[in-house]
């Protein structure tokens, strides 16, 4: 491995919202920069850049990830889901529907991140109870709503999506 300097760009092959995609990316490029600046998927928002606020949450191979501090070079071989990939045509994902119904948004800047976090949670743990919902969603910040409607929305989505689990959670 010694001798030649480490490359500063690498080719990644991934699936983004169901579409295969191959790109040469700088190692310094974050997942959020890849999505927003190179793929035009601006639904993913960046705010705290410290993995605290969750606005930039996307789902990579089923796991919630802070796209602002994850490197695009790590996406090689993965499947990435962003807020733009949730709806099936005109049909919204149950989590999106629940956020609309529960009036769980105001300015909307945190909304994609909350929705992706809830999608990851309910994918990992369909029958998530109140404690589980609070534990997961506590990792996202909202400055507008005071959270109560967001908790209601995720609870509503959880009840609609029913029990069942990806199997590696509890």
């Amino acid at each position: 491995m010694t001798g030649s300097p480490a490359p500063t760009s690498i080719v990644v092959r991934m699936r983004v919202n169901g579409h295969d995609c191959e790109m040469l990316v700088p190692v310094r490029l974050t997942v959020a920069e890849l999505l927003r600046d190179r793929l035009g998927l601006t639904g993913t928002k960046v705010s705290c850049e410290m993995q605290v606020c969750g606005a930039c949450t996307v789902v990579v191979d089923g796991d919630p990830v802070s796209s602002c501090t994850a490197l695009a070079c790590d996406l090689d071989g993965t499947e990435v889901l962003t807020v733009e990939g949730l709806a099936q045509g005109r049909d919204l994902h149950p989590v999106q529907e629940a956020f609309m119904e529960a009036n769980a948004l105001q300015c909307g800047f945190c909304t994609p991140g909350f929705i992706m976090m809830a999608v990851a949670l309910l994918d990992a743990c369909r029958g998530a109870d109140q404690d589980k919902i609070r534990e997961w969603m506590d990792g996202n910040l909202c400055r507008c709503t005071g959270y109560a409607p967001i908790e209601t929305a995720v609870t509503l989505a959880a009840s609609r999506m029913g029990a069942g689990s990806r199997g590696d959670d509890h």
């Binding site: 705290c48 609309m100 909307g108 400055r143």
Partner: protein, 759 residues
Amino acid sequence: MTAVPRSDAWEKVTGRARYAVDMALPNMAHAAVVRSERAHARIAGIDRAEAEAAPGVIAVVTADDLGDLGRRFGHIVPDHAVLAEGKVRYYGEPVAVVVAETPHEAADAAALVWVDYDDLPALTDSAGALASDVLVHEQSYTEPGQEFLGVAPTPSADNVAHRNELAWGDAEAALATATTVVETTATFPLVYGYAMETYNALADWQPGSLHVVSTAQHPLMVRKELARMFSLPLAAVRVEVPYIGGGYGTKSYTKLEPLAAAASWASGRPVKVTTDVEAAMYTTRADGAVVTVRTGFDAGARICARDIDIRFDTGAYADNSPLVLTKSINRSFGPYRIPNLRVRGVAAYTNTTPASSYRGFGAPQGALAGELNMDMAADRLGIDPVELRRRNLLAPGDTIIDGKRPLDADLAADIDAIVDALDQHAADRDAADRDAAADAGVRRGRAVAVTASDAGASPISTAQVRMHADGSVTLLVSSTEMGQGSRTALAQIAARELGVDLEAVAVGQSDTRFTPFEWTTGASRTTTVVGLAVQAACADLWDNLRAKAADSAGIPVDDVVVHGGRLHLAAETLTPAEVIRRWFGADAGEVVGVGVIRRDGVTEMLPPFWEIGAVGVEVAVDEATGEVTVEHLVTVGDVGHAINPDLVKGQDLGAATQGLGIALWEEMIYDGEQLTNPNLIEYRVPRLRDTPRRVTSVLAERGDGAGPYGAKGAGEGALNPVPAAVAAAVGRAVGVWPTELPLTPPRVWSLLHQAEPGP
């Protein structure tokens, strides 16, 4: 009216809603800002050769490169340097802008700009600044006679950014003869509003025109400042504001727009400037305050005088703080009968992030000491604090400030609603089968606080409704949508006035080239003031439709009657769409109505409305850790009429939650010259698991507002009294009155230990 869903919900849950940070223009370049690493220093030199030679760099811009452009902005005091010139006044101040082809290249090159500083003594607290010979600003920027909204700038000297006073009667004499005098001093922290979309601006300068897309709450105020900076006519400056990712007043007035515009002018390219949270914390914060309240009571526990001193820490530039200080003065003494009053306020320049508007606009600062003082007084007088307030509250129609609108709210009824809710919670708790162990080591306290704010700002607003050939409507206003739901609520008003379905009303985004004049989007004014403009526009539209119906039928206009969303002529009844199509002679055309609000009619008397804040809290304090849990929060949305109840409740809970953040967690901490917590790990804001265990949201709809259907504004009211209420409740729980916020666990622990000296 009704809780219809938000019109922006689909866009926002699908990620399709556009914010300024999402916008791009062809051939756009990117900026990185070089920020000061000193709080106060002369700029000895800037070496930018290395940066200019770096890959992708188009321009490096410093104050020396601004040519004929205006160097400073500031709508009240034009003191705010676009780029630091000669010296820097706070850590994080923009010194240079590097414009490059990509954000990476701009950032890499910005690290190669070397600034030499000669340090000056840094003034980092307001008391020290007022006593110091060192000046943050060596010159005064104001012209005699200049004023903004009735606020005349104070010529700066001795680090005074602004000074103001409000008085009637003889407070000093009345306090000397009062039966009881109670004094309270409370410190309100430096807080950062943390709108999650951090400040950003995209500017495209071309000869004779300037186009800016930004996070501005007040696009027309920004247009005015940019027009002055570039010596352009107002019409040549276009400020476009898509959805805003949180505002809360922190995006009021001008922020990054001059920097982006200067970078575009200097580079000849459209340029985008963004901030991270750290840079946003260096852009604007709220005024910190130390407030002392002395209240005199007679033998019947009635207030005979209040004497209040307010000292603001306003930071390096005045921005909107002179107005915030003036409002803080008006909002500090509370909606009580006060025969003798004196409030003196001073805003001090310091070498810290400039302060400006934040939700509540001076009210939370004043109310912290003012309302805490009422609780302390109640204790001293041996009266229940709610009873003390009831005894002194103003009644509907009473004068709060001479010459201003009389009180348009029933505060006693609001307080009754709070007390009922707090009692209900206590009863439910006592009735529940409770584990005694859960109560061990827990102390409880509850408190009520109330505020009245002269809100609504200047009642200048214009709305335009364009009815199309099918009867549907496009509503144009320059009010910005930052989550409060104005597009939804204003569409509801238009739909009701025009008798059309809500789905038939489209509301455009704010864009000064296309949407009509609006003073600001702040001071909780939109539903009331813009709502009135929308109503007026709809009335104008009906007049125009009547005229066209009469014209088409060849009858006098008086023979056309509007009723039930239809135009009734002697021979027939027409829908508006039929009138339009008939008049144009085609399935085409449109009819426009324009509504204008100024200081006239229902909005002649200022303020347009008094915004009420009325809340109750019950807190639990963990004796071992000092952690405070809000067990119950009660808000009263005294809004006259809720156009959309869900939106009002959303505003109330959101505002109250920000109040809880200030009360319990939020504080920008300076250690010497530098902010020690410029990130969300250490600047802690309320999280989901901090939310009150129970929330009671009451809507008081008494139709007593000047707005549409008796509406008054919401949005700030529920924040204003919360810090005071939490401070009083914690004080009751621990037995010592807090003197400063936030009430972090170690601070509460320290209060607990003051109450009971340790073994």
